[in-house]
């Protein structure tokens, strides 16, 4: 089906124009590689491991919430007397788990997998590039991320444990917190630096290294998603880096950027200059953290779009609408952040401004979701494993998005702010939303990276088990939140009378979380065993139209042997009069 000649097996260098080729040693080939595919896999595997670790932290929390004050079974003794004496979780430890679960999932798990992993591996292939624009910078980005991850993990072993002031690290609490918070801030500086370097690389690669004939409006939507995401990372992260430095100075140099005057801690006035503003942190933090949530969802939308187009055998509905919406969404994401701060005492006018921008930003989201839904109309749907996850993404993201609306309006937010409703809302978008899309991406591009397909039966067990359990985990949280149950309470809210009728849901959620964990086992087994024993496939097992499927599975160094040329748009499926139900971008006209 494909007419582009490409390199042969992995490790062989036949790129055109290259006079000599040297075999790289083990370290330069697999550890400090500058090849975007190796780096992408490094990001992906590290990201998946961090997701698993973050999941385990959550399991510990959910046990405590279901059975507050009970000793943690089997492993309770491992945590030591300063975290869980007699196996019973201390509130301090619960807070560490909470702060680190959020931090690890967002910054060490989802973004590295979605952007570092999928972006790095797939994007250059999809645009017909031999690699990223700055391969050495790419390699550095991964290792800086890795260092940040190590710092975050090591922080658990510091005196006082890991950071425990929420992933949001609000001062003054975070400024007077234990040393783990300093480690958190240090780790964040590493992670932010890694992201910034990566985003420059992505943008330059997409602008400069597109193949001949690949105009912007012929780009796969996945590439558009990565493009906009990179701008979000580039422009939104630096304020948090600045804020991190400011908080480090408050903690280490005694400054009062965030420390108000007259603060009293444990009955004694703090000996700081004062005059600082805790809201300053909130502004700088959320200025990043709101675009960050779009960093979490945009690559997922990109992945889902690719999988849907491929498994409906139709072009995506409304390509232009999708592109303009995602650009508009990216822009709007910078001017909604204070909807995380409605309860901080801002005036009604500025509150109205942020409510309006928040309502407006839901429009492009709905356009994208609708376009994807309409893409299913009249389609020949193939229910492959990636497609199951991609299809589930749609209603799950729908629920997540809709439940965001009462949070984005200040009057309803008064009741729902800082309750489990918020937790339910954002987990719906990230967990059965983004993470499902990432699973779809793993199943979809695994053949390209390894030359083998993952097992379908295990994939379907993984899907159905996860889908049922994940809804049982997060749906009850809306009930709890509407009932007024606060978040971040180590005893599950036991102390408050109004929570009495809601506590039983913690047990349900606990069991569902266990189920969810168990159903990841087929995936883990499938992932590793398919690398060795999966069904061997050729270069285009999904019969897809985008450029990456013209390279061999896996692609060699340099990706393409002859210069790839693009002749048409990315989703020419079921073209009337064509010989087959898909016409790849790279197939010459009249062939």
């Amino acid at each position: 089906m494909d007419k582009v000649e490409t390199g042969t097996a992995h490790g062989h260098e036949h790129a055109h124009g290259h006079a000599h080729h040297e075999e790289l040693g083990f370290w330069r080939k697999y550890v400090f590689s500058v090849d975007h595919k190796v780096i992408g896999i490094q990001y992906a595997v590290t990201g998946l491991l961090f997701l698993l670790f973050g999941f385990c932290l959550m399991m510990l929390m959910r046990f405590q919430l279901a059975y507050p004050g009970s000793p943690i079974p089997l492993i309770g003794g491992l945590f030591g007397p300063d975290k869980a004496p007699g196996g019973i979780m201390l509130p301090e430890f619960y807070n560490q788990l909470g702060a680190m679960h959020g931090t690890i999932m967002v910054f060490l798990g989802v973004v590295p997998l979605a952007v570092g992993g999928f972006g790095n591996f797939v994007m250059p292939l999809q645009i017909g590039a031999p690699d990223m624009a700055f391969p050495k910078l790419n390699m550095m980005s991964y290792w800086v991320y890795f260092c940040g991850g190590v710092v975050m993990l090591v922080s658990f072993f510091l005196p006082g444990g890991a950071a425990n002031s929420g992933w949001t690290s609000y001062p003054p609490l975070s400024v007077i917190a234990t040393i783990g918070q300093t480690a958190w801030l240090t780790g964040m500086v590493f992670l932010i630096t890694s992201s910034l370097l990566g985003s420059v690389n992505f943008i330059v690669t997409i602008v400069q290294l597109r193949a001949k004939g690949l105009s912007y409006m012929r780009l796969p939507f996945f590439v558009w998603a990565q493009f906009v995401t990179s701008f979000l990372l580039l422009l939104a992260f630096p304020p948090l880096e600045a804020a991190g430095v400011l908080q480090l100075m408050d903690r280490l140099a005694g400054t009062s950027f965030f420390m108000p005057s007259g603060l009293v801690v444990s009955g004694r006035p703090l000996t700081v200059a004062g005059g600082g503003n805790p809201l300053l942190w909130q502004h700088l933090f959320w200025f990043l953290a709101h675009p960050e949530v779009y960093v979490l969802i945009l690559p997922a939308m990109g992945i889902v779009s690719e999988v849907i187009a491929n498994n409906t055998r139709k072009p995506l509905w409304g390509y232009r609408a999708l592109v303009y919406s995602i650009i508009f969404l990216g822009f709007m994401s910078f001017i909604v952040w204070a909807h995380h701060m409605f309860m901080t005492g801002m005036g009604t006018n500025i509150s109205a401004f942020f409510q309006v921008t928040t309502m407006i930003i839901s429009i492009p989201s709905v356009v994208i979701l609708t376009a994807l839904l309409l893409s299913l109309w009249g389609a020949s749907i193939r229910f492959t494993t990636p497609m199951l996850f991609a299809l589930a993404f749609l209603p799950m993201f729908g629920i997540g998005g809709l439940t965001g609306l009462p949070l984005g309006l200040a009057p309803s937010d008064i009741h729902l702010h800082d309750t489990y409703y918020v937790i339910g809302h954002f987990h719906y978008v990230v967990a059965p939303g983004t993470i499902f899309a990432l699973f779809a991406g793993v199943y979809y591009w695994f053949p390209k990276a390894t030359g083998r397909k993952m097992n379908d039966t295990l994939g379907k067990i993984h899907f159905w088990g996860s889908f049922i359990c994940i809804n049982l985990v997060f749906m009850p949280m809306f009930i709890q939140g509407l009932g007024g149950m606060n978040r971040r309470m180590y005893d599950g809210g036991m102390q408050y009378a109004h929570n009495a009728g809601l506590l039983k849901w913690n047990v349900v959620i606990g069991f569902a979380a266990w189920g969810l964990g168990l159903f990841q086992l087929p995936f883990i087994v499938n992932f590793f065993s398919s690398i060795k024993w999966g069904a061997v496939v050729d270069r285009n097992p999904w019969e897809a139209t985008t450029l990456e499927w013209s390279a061999p599975s896996p692609p060699g160094h340099g990706n393409f042997l002859t210069e790839p040329v693009v002749y048409r748009g990315p989703y020419e499926y079921s073209v009337p009069g064509a010989a087959s139900d898909f016409t790849p971008q790279f197939e010459p006209k009249g062939a």
Binding site: E13, A15, G17, H18, P130, D131, A133, F134, P135, L196, S199, V200, N201, I203, V204, V207, Q208, L209, L234, L235, A236, F237, P238, P239, E241, A242, A243, V245, L246, M249, A253, G254, T255, S256, F257, V272, A273, G275, G276, N277, L279, L280, H283, L284, F287, H557, G558
Partner: protein, 194 residues
């Protein structure tokens, strides 16, 4: 395996990879310093009183002049290389480094003066933001010196192998350096005068 457009510009964008890359990096730096300026605004607006006369306007003005001159010498270095005059280019680069070093020496004297009186960043919010803004700016100066020293020393061999790529690297360094100068152009009045 060659990455295209590392030296010669891509026709439709008109850019070489490094040029776009450095400008994007500078865009992120605008946001970084922007956050600190935002901090300054919020803290000053919330302060009952804001100190005046704590900083030496003379030293600040001298440093402004030094940095402006270094920007001129930096762009002259690039221009000399474009005119194929390697030795002149190197001389201008060296002068830029020297001027940058003098800037840092002046900053050292300013900081030492404050610390001698026990007035560090912990003393009040004005000094906190002053030390942070000028400290971060100073770190950027150091970074610039490191890159320039590399291009003057071990990195200079690239001129023989690929003069256009070397000239481009000087240009990108220059863009970074002018940005550092630009930040100071705003820092000086905001911190020293207002």
């Amino acid at each position: 395996m060659e990455i295209p457009y590392t030296v010669e510009p891509r026709p439709d964008s008109g850019l070489a990879n490094g040029k776009l890359g450095i400008w994007l990096f500078l865009a992120s730096e605008v946001m970084l310093f922007g956050a600190l300026f935002s901090t300054y605004i919020l803290l000053r607006v919330g302060a009952a009183e804001w100190p005046h006369g704590e900083l030496s306007i003379k030293l600040g003005a001298i440093n402004t002049v030094i940095l402006i001159c270094s920007s001129v010498t930096m762009v002259m270095s690039w221009a000399s290389l474009k005119l194929n005059n390697f030795s002149k280019g190197r001389l201008y680069l060296l002068i830029t480094i020297v001027l940058a070093a003098v800037f840092l020496v002046n900053k050292y004297f300013e900081y030492a003066d404050h610390f001698a009186r026990g007035e560090g960043p912990w003393h009040n919010t004005f000094l906190a933001i002053y030390f942070t803004l000028t400290g971060l700016h100073g770190l950027h100066i150091i970074g610039g010196i490191v890159v320039m020293a590399y291009l003057l020393g071990p990195g200079a061999g690239l001129w023989k192998r690929n003069p256009e790529q070397y000239t481009n690297r000087i240009e990108y360094t220059g863009l970074y350096w002018h940005f550092v100068d630009l930040v100071w152009i705003f820092l000086f009045p905001v911190l020293y005068l207002l």
